[in-house]
Symmetry: C2
Subunit: 364 residues, 2 copies
């Protein structure tokens, strides 16, 4: 069997590493000649809306998946017609546009921060009457890692904020004073089998994920699973999903979801019985899903901009390194490492060292 | 960095899967066009003693390793001269010939069953006076999975046994009435750092490994580590080694060693903090070795001749499947699966199911 992947970065790379032991071959569509997943499959080099390449992909792949949610609608519908694409195109539509996404959550009864559409300055001024300060103005599309966002502290900033959006359709959201940022990684197979990982607790800085802890017996687990289940049912979902949530006084507010494997699930490679990458493959191949139970204590740390020397990282006890084969560049995720142990003291000691090392080489 | 591998079967495949997250690229020399590791690297197709290909390999690879011990001496010495080859050529010399190997053990004070060289029928007849029945006559070279062996029950079989060897230089060994077959997987890095895995307890049938259990706190651990250490020092060893041992009344007798990653260490992918494959890569790249501690209970089961349907294997709880992408063929190892769990009852229940499934599809 051959699996096609749109995008050849680190997520595709880790999907392929998990899929090869299941005897999958990979074919990767990516404009870059040296994307990290290329050594693991055959490469179609070009744009995601190149119809000739999409046709080749559909011809060769039994199933196609993707590592980013900004797949052009045309590509998704072409692939849906000529092969299988998972997660389904509906999931792309619901996640590509922040306003559509928030309305989608709302219609499913999934709580969110207050929000409103902003197509002109007047929309923003009017919305702020009920949303309240502080708030965040975001472009509706193509935002990631905090890009395309403006934080509004008071009324005096409204014009400046709207100007910063350069006229693109936007959404304003009330700023949530949360206790924790968490996410749930979950999987649903073609047959409808579901599996939910223990919650991920995430620490962001500068809009970029830095550290994720695997949570044990979290009081919010059940509510998060209920939300994920609503997504699964509404979208007739297949594959792994990541739902990002804020915890506010014992309630969960949905921030956004990604219809794909997710950075906040990287700890599952060592820290869960079956990784998110393997379960994504199992899900789209309609194989039984693997156990999602945590294996001891684990946490993941991103290396942003530059990695530390391999020697330094690997001399930390119980540290597992995942280099993405990407050239160092300011703000770019180039590697992650995970600490896993059954011994809590060892785990905490190693994690402290790893975080310090990542901070030392941070270039974000 | 680029790592070259001689041989492109499942061992090379699993080495590459472990080396890719360490940002290694792979170049694989193998005569077969569709060997299992080929999708993970660039391929030099041809024989292991093809000097043109060996030259290309030496030019492109920073370090070369191998997945089988029958590397031609010429290839090993050429690669040692023009790049790095690990484990070192000395380890190949000591392990390619059963007589040399047994003398090597003997000189290191590593106990073995009684043995003698056999170059003609008279040698065999004479040796049997002190070796005793039953005994096993083996070709000195190129034996694996029980091939090229003749079990001698009494004096009447001597001529028949020698005839079966077709005149090749041989070794006769006293049959050991052992309680257990075990192996130790250990690693030594370029810098001389060493690491030892918990013992593997192995079950063979028809000369082929079927099941390996990871042992916990085994009383033989210390003796096995001492033996492995002697090998490391004598050979100035670099990489992973597998030493196969018989336990006889609380003593360990060495059977043979393999200067490579080994089937009896496959459980380490899920069952140890760091897999034998990753530690092999760390060792030859002179990176700090990873922890070798066991993660819960684990055991590996080989699929011989044919695999079971993926669905059946993966529906077993906590089962991890590794397909080798090899066509089914009588007696061929085509896949393995590992059960791992912190819960002993679940572990045993799943392992029983997995063994039954492997037996059902066995074609050995």
């Amino acid at each position: 069997m051959t699996t096609g992947i749109l995008g050849g970065g680190q997520l595709a790379r880790m999907i392929a590493l998990a899929g090869l032991p299941l005897a999958q071959k990979f074919i990767i569509l990516d404009p870059s000649a040296d994307a990290g997943a290329i050594p693991l499959g055959s490469h179609l080099q070009g744009d995601y809306d190149d119809m000739t390449l999409l046709q080749q992909l559909a011809d060769k792949a039994d199933v196609v998946t993707y590592e980013f949610e900004n797949v052009p609608a045309l590509a998704a519908s072409y692939l849906a017609e000529h092969t299988c694409i998972y997660p389904p195109a509906k999931a792309l539509e619901a996640s590509q546009d922040r306003l559509v996404e928030k309305n989608f959550f709302h219609n499913l009864g999934i709580a969110t921060a207050p929000f409103a559409h902003v197509d002109k300055l007047e929309d923003l001024q009017q919305a702020m009457h009920h949303i309240g300060y502080p708030a965040i103005l975001k472009s509706r599309r193509f935002g990631y890692d905090g890009k395309g966002q403006f934080r509004i502290l008071d009324e005096s900033q409204l014009a400046e904020a709207w100007e910063a959006m350069q006229g693109v359709p936007s959404i304003v959201e009330g700023f949530v004073s949360f206790q924790r940022e968490i996410s749930i990684i979950a999987a649903r197979s073609v047959s409808g089998e579901t599996a939910f990982y223990p919650l991920s607790e995430n620490i962001h800085r500068g809009g970029i994920l830095r550290v994720t802890h695997c949570c044990h017996d979290d009081p919010m687990q059940q509510q998060a699973e209920a939300y994920a289940n609503k997504l699964f049912e509404a979208l007739d979902y297949v594959g792994v999903v990541a739902l990002e949530l804020f915890e506010v006084n014992g309630e969960l507010l949905a921030n956004e979801f990604a219809p794909r494997v997710h950075n906040s699930g990287h700890w599952t490679i060592e820290g869960a019985e079956t990784s998110q990458f393997e379960n994504h493959m199992r899900a789209i191949l309609d194989l039984p899903l693997g156990a999602t139970t945590a294996c001891g204590f684990s946490a993941m740390v991103n290396f942003i901009g530059a990695s530390a020397p391999d020697d330094d990282i690997l001399s930390i006890e119980n540290c597992h390194l995942h280099l993405y084969d990407k050239a160092p560049r300011k703000g770019r995720k180039v590697a992650h490492a995970t600490i896993r142990s059954d011994d809590k003291a060892l785990f905490e000691q190693s994690l402290t060292k790893l975080i310090a090392l990542a901070d030392q080489y941070d270039d974000s």
